[in-house]
């Protein structure tokens, strides 16, 4: 029992940034699916989902796409995309009536 725990700890210690990112992204996706199946509509749920989108995007860009030390302009636009769109999702939910009013022809 102790031996298997030790082996498991050793395995965890060997995980690198890529492996940890992959595990985190899978877990967040699973949590999102759980929310989709169980949670009722609320602004809080929307905020949590928006945060998860921003986090997943940043993780993929920094660790998989390797943008964390790349060209600053590319970094700015890519990171900006994943700040702006989660925020827009939230704002579109929060001000849906106003959005409908200003986009009515």
């Amino acid at each position: 029992m102790l031996n298997s725990r030790f082996k498991f700890t050793l395995k965890l210690a060997k995980l690198n940034g890529l492996d940890i990112s992959w595990i985190m992204l899978m877990l967040i996706t699973l949590a999102n699916a759980l929310v989709a199946e169980t949670a009722d509509k609320s602004l809080f749920v929307t905020a949590v989902i928006c945060f998860s989108i921003a986090f997943k995007g940043r993780r993929i860009m920094d660790y998989f796409m390797e943008l964390n030390h790349a060209n600053k302009t590319i970094q700015l636009f890519m990171r900006g995309y994943f700040y702006v769109f989660p925020l827009l999702i939230f704002l579109a939910d929060l001000f849906s009536k106003q959005l409908a009013a200003i986009t009515t022809l």
Binding site: A33, I60, M61, Y63, F64, M65, A70, I89, A100
Partner: protein
């Protein structure tokens, strides 16, 4: 850096020390990424063009949702969340495999790099199979492209994304051929990096599409 007279283990030690390989932490001195454009300029023009296209879809989604809130509240409930979740798993895993492939070529292990890329291609194929199955399932549930505004957007976004997964999978196979032929090596794999960046972009687009269509109401 002269590499011709070094054996494989010496080369691996040098690259590990100099490049701070992706597999072992942050990429600080990797010549193709530090303060540089990963891959090449052309692929980034493509990536930003694609992201702009998806951005327009998202904006249309916000406006349509504001005008038809009931359709957008009920729409996700009838979609197959399991299919959407499995597709997200497939895309995230494929991105991880592509990153692993890049890490392998940096330590001069092209065979390993090829193996990781095949795994990524398999994920792409799994995604396509699940998507086609999901479309059939939708039709059986009476969900068509013209059922309502939500489903029109759902089909438009997901089919467009499916096309991107299709040709990006083709580019991964192209990279495998490049590795097999020796076109991509430890010291020259910018093309592979460019293909990897494009693949990650396809994954990033899905990171937004999945919650918009399957999770949020």
């Amino acid at each position: 850096m002269p590499v011709g007279n070094l054996n494989r283990s010496e080369m691996s030690t040098i690259t590990e020390n100099i490049f701070h390989l992706n597999g072992s932490g942050l990429v600080r001195n990797e010549p193709e990424t530090v303060n540089k454009i990963p891959g090449n300029r052309a692929v980034w023009v493509g990536i930003f063009a694609e992201l702009t296209e998806f951005a327009l879809f998202f904006i249309v989604y916000f406006i349509a949702k504001a005008h038809y809130p009931e359709q957008f509240n009920q729409g996700p409930l009838k979609l197959n969340t399991l299919a959407g979740t499995l597709n997200t798993f497939a895309l995230i895993s494929s991105s991880y495999f592509v990153a692993k492939s890049l890490a392998a070529i940096r330590v001069n292990e092209p065979e390993q790099s090829i193996k990781w890329l095949w795994r990524a291609v398999m994920c792409g194929v799994i995604y396509l199979i699940i998507k086609v199955w999901e479309y059939h399932w939708n039709v059986d549930q009476g969900i068509q492209t013209n059922t309502n505004k939500f489903y029109t957007l759902y089909y438009y976004m997901t089919f467009n994304h499916l096309l991107h997964v299709g040709w990006a999978s083709g580019s991964l196979i192209w990279a495998i051929l490049g590795l097999k032929s020796g076109r991509y090596t430890q010291n020259n794999h910018l093309g592979l990096t460019a293909i990897a960046c494009y693949w990650h972009m396809v994954d990033l687009a899905w990171v937004i599409i999945f919650p918009l269509l399957y999770v949020l109401r």
